[in-house]
């Protein structure tokens, strides 16, 4: 079966294919020759398992994520649901900013961020840590004149109740937003305010941890 390569992501190659008659996305985590074979095998297996597990957990919690149809640890291939009309939140934000007046764009993006924040809150209240929250890993899938928000790329995810991991998750997202969408500094704020409503009883503790991780981060600007 010849496969159409869609793109090469950070973790592997993406192909369009089908599984038992259903068209799907195939994510192949090919062997990375730069790392030691033992390390490569360990990382690849760990990430494939994490991805399949987290997708299941998300769906059970009512969070949209690609359904995993099949996972093949021997060929390092994961067969999953494909959202053919979707674009990444990164593209969506850039297009919104380019195509609308400043006020309208801000309004539309704040709406998006409210949704994103709510979902991340829900994820954390279910103790799912995404591990790589960026606007490249959030899909905007058009649906009946509106859109739905789908989270993808759960390779770095894990299940943990600790506030530390949730704090780091938020910190990673904040940094990604600041660097990728530096002209829209309000994005993270909207995400955080709707996050707080959904993240469950640990709200204060997670936010305190987040501030702690941030402060830890600032020390980095030292000696070079």
């Amino acid at each position: 079966m010849s496969l159409e390569i869609l793109k090469q992501g950070a973790e592997g190659r993406l192909y369009l294919g089908n599984y038992k008659g259903e068209s799907c996305l195939i994510k192949e985590r090919f062997v990375k020759k730069y790392r030691h074979p033992d390390l490569d095998t360990q990382i690849t297996r760990q990430r494939m398992k994490a991805e399949a597990k987290a997708a299941g957990r998300c769906l059970a919690a009512g969070i949209l994520a690609p359904r995993i149809l099949h996972s093949d640890l021997n060929t390092h291939k994961l067969y999953m649901e494909y959202f053919d009309k979707a674009q990444t939140a990164k593209q969506f934000i850039q297009e919104t900013v380019a195509g609308k007046t400043e006020d309208l764009a801000k309004q539309a993006l704040e709406e998006l961020c409210t949704r994103i924040g709510g979902i991340i809150g829900k994820m954390h209240s279910n103790h799912i840590i995404h591990g790589d929250l960026t606007t490249s890993n959030i899909l905007i899938n058009p649906k009946e004149g509106d859109y739905e928000v789908v989270f993808i790329d759960f390779g770095l995810s894990h299940y943990n109740q600790a506030t530390e991991d949730k704090g780091v998750d938020l910190y990673v997202l904040e940094r990604a937003l600041l660097s990728t969408h530096s002209e829209q500094p309000y994005l993270f704020e909207s995400i955080l305010s709707s996050y707080r409503k959904e993240c469950g009883k640990d709200e204060e503790a997670v936010l305190a941890k987040f501030e702690e991780v941030r402060a830890r981060g600032r020390k980095r600007t030292m000696i070079g």
């Binding site: 950070a10 390390l39 990604a176 530096s182 991780v213 070079g224």
Partner: protein, 347 residues
């Protein structure tokens, strides 16, 4: 036509460089080397720099065959770095500026590394991996700033290597990282270590504690754990160096690749002291080839802290109209890469 003299002294190297329109005229450097098992302390490092700096200024002018009157601007490292060594460079720069009646410019150390790397390799708009004793950052340019996409959330990669070298008492001459690299070549036995990647960020402190335990099992706090692992402690120092390098470099390559995919870029530039490690360069090159990209790297003359990079970044700033009044000629230990307005790039 800008002819700039640059002074760098943010850590244990003191260097002077002279550059004229992108042409290297002089690049001299001295390194403060401490005995095995010891790191460099601010006060002693500053003393070393004070003793070396004037001689270096003279030899750089001699090497460049220039008189002070031929210079257009004096540049120095404003930060980030250790304060006492930074001050040595700043004070000499201020004095020379007043003595020779030349304008003065304070340069961000990280920007110096990036611009020097771009000049030497000719990379146009790469993802930059900046790895040194104090910094670990994945950087991309957008909209007149060098933006930090990923970085370490605790200690720098070079700091992790240096501290491990201290534990196993490796020589600091020419640098601890170089000696780890040489020792690592003698082994191919991979010992599993923690692997910590969080999105585009990394963490090294846990790996360091873990490998410290392996290197010195006798010092372990937890006695029960010590007994459990008593049988499997036949690691040689070379095995540990090899495994440490393989693990932390794989982490760095991974976050660089993630930044490439996120930004849609296919060029990588490695700068900073750890950047001259050939194994890191090799791993990065393989990753680039696997995705049709290209690697740019430099050797120790330009990778490791040097005065030339400060001269070059300062010359670019000067050319684009940046000026600095004498009152602002101070140093700062914390000076983030993304604080600098990149006035010399228009893309």
């Amino acid at each position: 036509m800008v002819c700039a003299l640059g002074i760098e002294g943010s850590a244990n190297k003191i260097g002077i460089g002279i550059i004229k329109d992108g042409e290297v005229l002089a690049n001299v450097r001295r390194t403060y080397i401490t005995p095995p098992g010891e790191g460099f302390l601010p006060k002693e490092t500053a003393k070393h720099h004070r003793e070396a700096i004037l001689g270096l200024v003279q030899s750089s002018l001699k090497e460049a065959k220039l008189q002070p009157a031929d210079l257009d601007v004096i540049c120095y490292t404003k930060g980030p770095g250790m304060a006492p060594p930074l001050l040595v460079g700043a004070i000499v720069a201020r004095t020379l500026s007043l003595l020779w009646a030349k304008p003065l410019l304070g340069v961000n150390h990280c920007i110096g590394h990036i611009e020097m790397g771009r000049l030497i390799t000719g990379a146009q708009n790469p993802i930059v991996l900046y790895v040194s004793g104090g910094n670990t950052q994945v950087i991309a340019y957008s909209n007149q700033r060098y933006r930090i996409f990923g970085e370490t959330i605790d200690i720098a990669v070079g700091n992790c290597l240096d501290r491990f070298a201290r534990i196993i008492k490796l020589s600091n001459d020419p640098s601890p990282g170089y000696n780890i690299e040489q020792l690592a070549k003698k082994s191919n036995r991979y010992i599993k270590l923690p692997y910590v990647v969080k999105g585009m960020d990394v963490s090294f402190s846990g790996i360091l504690s873990y490998i410290e335990d392996l290197a010195e099992p006798g010092k372990r706090q937890n006695k029960r754990k010590r007994q459990q692992e008593e049988e499997v402690t036949d690691y040689s120092q070379a095995d540990l160096c090899y495994s440490l390098q393989e693990t932390i470099f794989a982490m760095l390559v991974e976050i660089t690749e993630r930044a490439m995919a996120h930004c849609g870029s296919n060029e990588v530039l490695i700068v900073g002291g750890v950047g001259c490690n050939e194994r890191l360069q090799e791993m990065m090159r393989i990753m680039c080839e696997e995705r049709g990209g290209k690697l740019f790297a430099t050797d120790e003359r330009y990778c490791i802290d040097n005065g030339l990079m400060i001269a070059h970044a300062g010359a670019e700033m000067f050319r684009s109209g940046t000026r600095m009044p004498l009152e602002e000629a101070f140093v700062t230990q914390r000076f983030r890469t993304d604080e600098v307005l990149v006035s010399w790039r228009q893309d």
